[in-house]
């Protein structure tokens, strides 16, 4: 049992190391990033990296700073300290290049419920400057991948929560980004809906080489192949593969490791 875990750990570390070597440019690189709302600090000296093809989980409780981080990376807010780069393009100096490489699914749904699925997608494609013919092709491909081709002419309002999420993922991928950001995408979904989403997005990493940053507070969404970043009270407590994090905390499960990390920070604020 123990040796199997050890083998797993070594295999995991080796797999991540080789992927990092192969990809010279990180999909997302954040360094020394801090942000506060007035006097209240939301992020403190955050550094993290997402590599192409990696399924990276940003694990943190509600209020840990995950949504703030997403708003800074997508330039809804500007960061005042530190740096954020998407495939080497700094978000503040060259937002157009950086934003063109990002697909994003926000925590709250951003679909226009009064428009049809296809209309929502076409609107997004126009904002990203996709020519009409390419738009039609890309919509056909992405909507098929999330298994909603039959619903494309339905109003978004008529879809279930899980289906809406799938539309949002299809929309986020229309302009062929190589970095996908998802903020608590499974909140409010049933077990089946969650599993579909996790499988679909893992497939995107594996098959399309997309770098994914998946923010969640649900520890069971961490898979064996994930890289994990633990964010607590605005600080990165750990970053690495599952075996690495387990080893660092001497834990056997992610829940133990997470509890250990977050307790430690509460003792030493």
């Amino acid at each position: 049992m123990g040796s199997a875990l050890e083998q797993d750990r070594q295999a995991g570390v080796a797999a991540h190391a080789s992927r990092r070597d192969a990809a010279a440019t990180p999909a997302l690189r954040i360094a020394r990033l801090s942000h506060s709302y007035g006097a209240r600090p939301a992020l403190r000296d955050v550094a993290l990296t997402v590599y192409p093809g990696d399924f990276t989980i940003l694990l943190g409780l509600n209020g840990a700073g995950k949504s703030t981080l997403f708003s800074l990376v997508t330039r809804l807010y500007a960061h005042r300290s530190g740096s954020i780069a998407i495939f080497g393009a700094a978000i503040d100096a060259d937002p157009a290049t950086a934003l063109s490489r990002i697909g994003v699914v926000f925590q709250q749904s951003t679909l226009d419920l009064d428009l049809t699925v296809e209309q929502n997608l076409r609107y997004h494609a126009a904002l990203h400057g996709l020519p009409r013919r390419l738009t039609a092709m890309r919509i056909a491909v992405e909507i098929e991948r999330v298994d909603l081709a039959k619903r494309r002419h339905d109003k978004a309002r008529q879809l279930s929560g899980g289906q809406r999420r799938r539309v949002e993922i299809a929309r986020a991928l229309l302009h062929d980004p190589k970095l996908l950001l998802l903020d608590e995408p499974t909140v409010g979904l049933d077990v089946e809906g969650r599993q579909f989403l996790l499988d679909h997005v893992r497939g995107l990493c594996r098959n399309d080489g997309i770098g994914v940053l998946w923010a969640t507070h649900l520890i069971d969404e961490v898979g064996a192949d994930s890289r994990v970043i633990i964010l607590h009270q605005g600080k990165v407590m750990a970053e690495g593969s599952v075996p690495e994090i387990l080893a660092a905390t001497g834990s056997t499960t992610m829940r133990e490791a997470f509890d250990a990390m977050t307790r430690r920070s509460e003792r030493k604020p």
């Binding site: 949504s67 330039r75 809804l76 807010y77 005042r80 080497g88 393009a89 609107y123 904002l127 400057g129």
Partner: protein, 288 residues
């Protein structure tokens, strides 16, 4: 706090080439934004009709009662004595745009639109362009409302020359953009204006009543000099006058200058308000 030099991350090997936004990209985005507004308009025809009722109530009831208490002398652009309905119609057209500008700009921020605002602002085009396109899309709908209003007001013998209907189009676009930009500016800076009733009391009614929309300003000047000054500097007065003159195929150059200057000013301030580095959204933490 210090900013880390961009080079630290920008010079990594294999970084993506800098994206140059083509004019076609801008055109596609504008098309998409206007198209979406149009679809929403088609989906909310009820709102369109209720927005038409408001000026028609003014025209059909208020103007009927008021015409006998207020004689309008011959003032430009009119060449004869006119019934009060004819005087007030351009002002009511401007009122449609005032309501529309405030409504669409405020809903942009505070309603469920906040979500679609994120979709808009996380696309690669510069923010000023996206906001201007969004404004223009709102103006398209308000222009349609004005034309519908002008068509119905034929029943009250508001009959400008045929060319006037064409000449008024650029005036409507300019004044609609200006009033929309004002709404955008308010929405980006003043948090208390979250509900529409507040905007009615503190913005729409004062702007509407302290203007030339309902009465010629020479009458105001006779009544109260200070009020006249206020009416004269009120941008809404100039929006109403621009529309009034254009409807009779004339240009009020002062009104045109004021509307254009206000448009540039309000738009600049609104873009600053939505600037991720300076704006209100970042300070208040709107995404939490």
């Amino acid at each position: 706090m210090t900013t880390v030099p961009i080079d630290e991350t920008a010079t990594v090997a294999g970084a993506v080439p800098k994206l140059r936004l083509a004019p076609r990209h801008y055109a596609r985005a504008l098309e998409g934004i206007v198209w979406r507004e149009w679809l929403r308009f088609l989906g909310q025809r009820g709102r369109f009709f209720s927005a038409l009722v408001r000026p028609l109530v003014w025209l059909g009831i208020f103007a009927a009662g008021f015409r006998f208490t207020l004689g309008v002398s011959i003032i430009p652009p009119y060449e004869t004595y006119i019934p009060y309905e004819v005087y007030v119609a351009p002002g009511l057209a401007a009122m449609i745009q005032l309501f529309n500008g405030m409504q669409s700009s405020l809903s942009m921020v505070y309603d469920r639109e906040m979500g679609s605002m994120r979709v808009l602002l996380t696309s690669p085009l510069p923010r000023w362009y996206l906001l201007a396109a969004k404004l223009l899309a709102g103006v398209v709908v308000s222009v349609l409302q004005v034309y519908a209003f002008l068509a119905i007001s034929l029943l009250w013998e508001v009959e400008p020359p045929l060319w006037g209907y064409l000449a008024v189009l650029p005036a409507l676009i300019l004044s609609g953009m200006m009033l929309g930009a004002l709404g955008l500016l308010l929405s980006s800076t003043i948090r208390q204006l979250e509900n529409f009733a507040g905007v009615m009391n503190f913005v729409i009614f004062p702007m509407f009543f302290a203007s030339s929309a309902l009465y010629p300003l020479w009458r105001v000047q006779e009544a109260n000099l200070w009020l006249w000054y206020i009416c004269e500097i009120n941008p809404f007065t100039h929006a109403a006058e621009l529309i009034r003159f254009a409807l009779y195929s004339q240009v009020s150059w002062i009104a045109l200058a004021v509307v254009v200057c206000c448009l540039v000013l309000f738009m600049t301030l609104a873009v600053l308000g939505y600037d991720p580095a300076r704006g209100m959204i970042a300070r208040r933490g709107g995404a939490e």
